[in-house]
């Protein structure tokens, strides 16, 4: 909590408050916009997998590097958005994103100190597990054996977009999304 730290800081003008609010809401806004963009009609093959992949990467990144940026309630809303946009069972991605958040927060003290490669590997494992669970959940809720291929592709896609997304978000994390710089 920066406001609890002792020191001299600028007066709380309305403009500054707006600035702080904008910086606080950047992770949420960024995730939602990325989700909607991942769905944009550009006609990529297997574009359906892009959206959960983006959600996984974004939630994992913020949960590890700034858990207060995406609180569970916001992740709940993002998961609901993901479920409602797609045609899958409602509540499944809500659960998966919350679980990813839970796992990432649990191990963040170890992860945040590691280099990029290890965090990436941890993300890959988490994404693979989440994709597997999404396959299992959809299969169970549809009561039908669904092919595993799309879920695996989703995990691979999530793993391959993470480096780019993480670079962007790390930069944002240090500049425009940092409430301390307001």
């Amino acid at each position: 909590m920066p406001e609890r730290l002792p020191g001299i800081r600028p007066r709380q003008s309305p403009w500054r408050r707006l600035d702080i609010a904008a910086r606080h809401s950047f992770p949420t806004a960024c995730t939602v916009v990325l989700l909607l963009l991942a769905r944009a009609p550009i006609g990529l093959p297997s574009q359906a997998q892009l959206q959960p992949a983006v959600a996984l990467a974004s939630v994992f990144f913020w949960s590890v590097f700034r858990p207060t940026a995406l609180p569970p309630a916001v992740i709940f809303a993002i998961g609901l958005l993901l479920d409602l946009i797609g045609l899958g069972p409602i509540g499944l991605w809500v659960f998966l994103l919350l679980a990813v958040h839970g796992v990432a927060v649990r191990f963040r003290r170890t992860l945040a100190r590691q280099g990029f490669l290890l965090v990436w590997l941890a993300f890959d494992a988490t994404a693979a597990l989440a994709a597997l669970l999404s396959w299992l959940g959809t299969s169970l809720l549809n009561w039908e054996f669904l092919p595993l291929g799309p879920a695996l592709f989703e995990a691979v896609l999530a793993a391959s977009i993470y480096p780019a997304l993480s670079t962007l978000l790390t930069h944002a994390h240090r500049t425009i999304a940092d409430p301390g710089q307001a």
Partner: protein, 290 residues
Amino acid sequence: MIRLSIPVRQALARLTLPVLITASFGMMLLGKADALLAERARASLGDVLAPIYGAIATPLMPVRNAFADATDLFTLRAENARLRDENATLRRWQAVAMALDAENATLKANLHWIPAPPASFVTARVVDDAGGVYARAVLLAIGNNGLSGSPVSKGQVALDQQGLVGRVIEVGQRSARVMLITDINSRVPVTMEATRARALLIGTNNGRPRLMYWPEGSPPVEGERIVTSAEANAFPAGLPVGTVHYTAGHIPEVQPFARLDRLEVVRIFDYGLHGLIPPDAVVRPTDRRK
């Protein structure tokens, strides 16, 4: 913001996650038990998203075209050869079709045939691929043309210029969702054109739905045309669906005529059929396959 003491805040923070996870399980059950609620929520979200995607579709057209062109480049040669072959075949069939058309016209004139009334349709733009990893659907933007009520209703049939696309499963104020025939929950009663035998076309989430339940002794023939059948009163008879292809594992699949991966505009036909979905009742997705 309410200032809470740090231990209380920490306790609350620890509690939120389990509570929300429990809530998500509750939602899974609720979404399964009350399909209407889920459908309403999806339809209203679709109403919000349809204008947004509609607006960004035009600026995104160059990107979309670039991707399409890039994929086309790889298949250009093979595609050309295939088209030349197809053209030659079609020329021959054109002659046959014209002769049959003339013959049909004379026969109809002699028989006092009552033609079926043309079905009314509306054309809608596809604004978004609204499926998911395990679903195939598209979102349509529908204005209401100044008419009262939505021009589209549940259970209506969607076609593109070449063949059957799917069925309307959700209708909102400004948007509608069409479940494609490739969706895993899609079941379409079809007729095989050569043998006139009935079968069921079952979506698999892949590009080609599978043919099942044909009568004993009349298996689908490779390359045969598949059209819809009026059985179960869900589709009118004779809408073109696709052609039969056997996989390496000897499973008959249907290559749809409709370009389901690149839908831009679809026509929604009102045939006045409510065989499977009564106008206002909601059928659980799992019941629809029967």
